[in-house]
């Protein structure tokens, strides 16, 4: 699992530029499903036959990033955010463009951190003129954080664990599942960070009976953290509610029962902010019961997100248990 997480998080894939990560997952899964397709939006759908009920899993491939909006006369790049990014998390970070160009984020003079907005930041790629900058980067080019993978033993740190950990859980579950009792549509979605866009169109195309998103959730287990019940190392989190979704009672019941029956460590999640692909899935067509299995994650939307491998393992087991349980709703 560590190796898979390391490889998945090392691939840059900000929203709208998921080609590389999709190719990697495609290669990883080609021997573990009946069919692999890519839809119009770019979602990767791994299908595995198993039963009557159509079960959609969704883990998003994309990560937050930045996009160049202008190149000034001195060769500094002005940029906008892709997905939810706080300016103070960007300052002095290194970014990598799709073509390999590296840069560091600098800021205009400010007197107070409160004045730090995205408009005050710029990317310095070491160019000495606009002409030189334009040989390396163009307006519209997209970059992601460049931060190495860190193995802390039971816990690992990397950029883009949101939601490569969800992708890893789904990949691992597909490899482990031996007797699927439902038709499995494992979707690796695009553009989640900019508004659950891939999941929305994927769900419309698939029209599943049940949707389950695999994503990260915030924790309340760090100094002076927001009051949240979720903790690292306490197991897979079964979502009860976030801004985009109130988990369908039957889905919550199903996941809880499966966790209890299989002795899978689990916790419940109420998240007062944020949303996941399940939010888009459950409002598709005439409505689709949906839920979320989350992996608790510290320092979300930063270049150093942290997860606990016990939670990852619990999430894999809960996904496999769901795949192998004949579901009737």
């Amino acid at each position: 699992m560590k190796d898979l997480l390391r490889r998945l998080t090392s691939i840059p894939a900000p929203s709208g530029r998921e080609e590389q990560i999709r190719a990697f997952i495609q290669a990883e899964l080609k021997d573990y499903c009946d069919e692999l397709t890519v839809d119009t939006m770019g979602n990767l759908i791994a299908f595995k036959r198993g039963g009557k009920t159509k079960l959609q899993f969704a883990a998003h491939m994309d990560e937050i990033g930045v996009i160049v909006t202008a190149i000034d006369e001195q060769g500094f790049l002005r940029f906008s955010n892709i997905g939810g990014i706080r300016p103070h998390r960007l300052y002095a970070q290194r970014v990598r463009f799709q073509n390999g160009t590296m840069g560091v984020i600098g800021a205009e003079k400010i007197d107070d951190l409160k004045q730090l907005t995205l408009e005050k930041l710029y990317i310095d790629i070491g160019a000495t003129s606009a002409e030189e900058a334009k040989t390396k980067v163009a307006v519209g080019d997209i970059a992601s954080f460049d931060h190495g993978y860190l193995d802390l033993g039971q816990r690992v740190v990397a950029k883009a664990l949101d939601d490569r950990v969800g992708c890893a859980v789904l990949i691992e579950a597909l490899k482990r599942v031996t007797k699927p009792q439902n038709d499995l549509y494992c979707t690796f979605t695009v553009q989640e960070e900019v508004g659950l866009r891939g999941a929305k169109t994927a769900a419309f195309g698939l029209d599943p009976d049940l949707g389950i998103a695999l994503d990260v959730t915030a924790t309340g287990d760090t100094p002076e953290a927001p009051k949240l019940a979720m903790k690292l190392g306490q197991g897979a989190a079964i979502k009860v509610k976030d801004v985009s979704l109130i988990t369908h009672p039957q889905v919550k019941e199903l996941l809880t029962t499966l966790a209890e029956q299989n002795g899978i460590p689990h916790q419940f999640e109420v998240l007062p902010f944020g949303g996941t692909d399940a939010g888009a899935i459950h409002l598709t067509k005439a409505g689709i019961p949906a839920g979320v299995i989350s992996v608790p994650c510290r320092y979300l939307h930063s270049p150093s997100e942290m997860v606990d491998l016990n939670d990852v393992e619990a999430a894999v087991r809960l996904v496999v248990a769901t795949m192998e349980h004949p579901i009737t709703l």
Binding site: G140, R197, K200, T201, G205
Partner: protein, 341 residues
């Protein structure tokens, strides 16, 4: 002049009838079939005997404006904004109220009667009213009803060195582009959608795209030109006179790189000037079209326009002409080479 005629029509969101009638009359006979859908979108198709991917071209008919929300005892009209209007531009503007185009002016407390603090703050819509010259409520109610829409009274026309000024250029200029394209024959099925209620939440395009289910959509818009002080150069998203603006991303959509590459290749091959919209903010109908059904690839081409969402916008007529040329060349390219993948 088509642009002038379109600009001077009133079509505040949900009240697009006059614009729809005008376009319908003008394009009759030029297309294979015309239909008005249930939300009021005007859909014109050129698809008889055509093979290939269905391409949807969309431009919205509606404009920002005001709505009458009350009539006071003295016959003055209370108002609310429809769409994103900077309230500070409203004072003292001449307007037309309702389908009968009743003339009025937007009034506010004159400077002599204002307290010092009032002078330092911009007036909010709640402090503004429309005066239609009525003597009292009964008199006003003869001409105006609550819910009537209010549009700015602005004469459009060319001025300066190849520029054009007028209200509602967002997005009548886009409508004019579509009407110009209809003069040409393309070897692929096309659906021209003149949509309603864009300014209040991309509503017309949402259902138009669902109904048409195209293989590719092209949104023709206007976008703010920031080439005016005190903006720094890197803060301007587009510039007047630099050609049509191609979007790579905004808050509603990320355009597929392959589509942008094709547009750029077409422009360069045909020697058509273009610029990138150097911003990732704002949103257009492309967002909802892209998210329709199982997903629809979409691109956005915009005519740069100064002072949009105010009573008067300014665009460059060459940008307008080049936009038509670029889309014309793009459609011929798609007919010949198919969709970019």
């Amino acid at each position: 002049m088509l642009l002038k005629e379109l600009s001077e029509l009133n079509g505040v969101s949900s009240g697009e009838t006059a614009v729809r009638h005008f376009i319908r009359n003008r394009i009759q006979g030029r297309v294979d079939r015309i239909q008005t859908d249930r939300l009021g979108n005007l859909i014109a198709r050129c698809d008889q005997g055509k093979k290939g991917p269905l391409v949807m071209l969309s431009a919205h008919m509606d404009e920002v404006g005001l709505m009458v929300v009350g009539i006071d005892a003295s016959g003055l009209l209370k108002i609310k904004t429809i769409g994103g209007i900077d309230e500070r531009v409203l004072i003292s503007k001449r307007v037309f109220v309702g389908p009968q185009r009743i003339p009025g002016v937007i009034g506010a407390k004159p400077i002599h009667l204002q307290e010092r603090e009032e002078r330092e703050r911009p007036v909010k819509t709640t402090g503004l009213f429309v005066d239609i010259g009525a003597t009292d409520r009964n008199d006003a109610e003869k001409d105006v009803k609550i819910g009537d829409l209010i549009a700015f009274d602005v004469q459009a026309g060319p001025f300066g060195d190849g520029l054009f000024k007028g209200k509602a250029l967002d997005d009548r200029a886009g409508c004019a582009v579509l009407m110009n394209l209809m003069e040409n024959e393309y070897d692929l099925p096309l659906a021209y959608a003149f949509t309603v209620q864009e300014e209040v939440g991309l509503r017309g395009a949402t259902v138009a795209a669902y109904g048409l289910n195209p293989d590719l959509a092209l949104v023709v818009e206007t976008t703010s030109a920031g080439d005016v002080p005190p903006l720094k150069k890197h803060q301007a998203s587009t510039r007047l006179g630099a050609g049509p603006a191609i979007s790579f991303m905004d808050r509603s959509v990320i355009v597929k790189p392959a589509l942008i590459e094709r547009l750029v290749a077409v422009a360069e091959e045909a020697g058509i000037p273009y610029q990138f919209r150097e911003s990732a903010s704002g949103g257009t109908e492309a967002g909802v079209i892209n998210q329709t059904r199982s997903g629809i690839p979409v691109a956005v081409i915009s005519i740069p326009c100064r002072y949009i969402h105010s009573p008067v916008g300014v665009l460059n007529l060459d940008d307008f002409a080049q936009t038509i040329k670029l889309i014309d060349a793009f459609l011929r390219n798609i007919a010949q080479r198919g969709l970019p993948v």
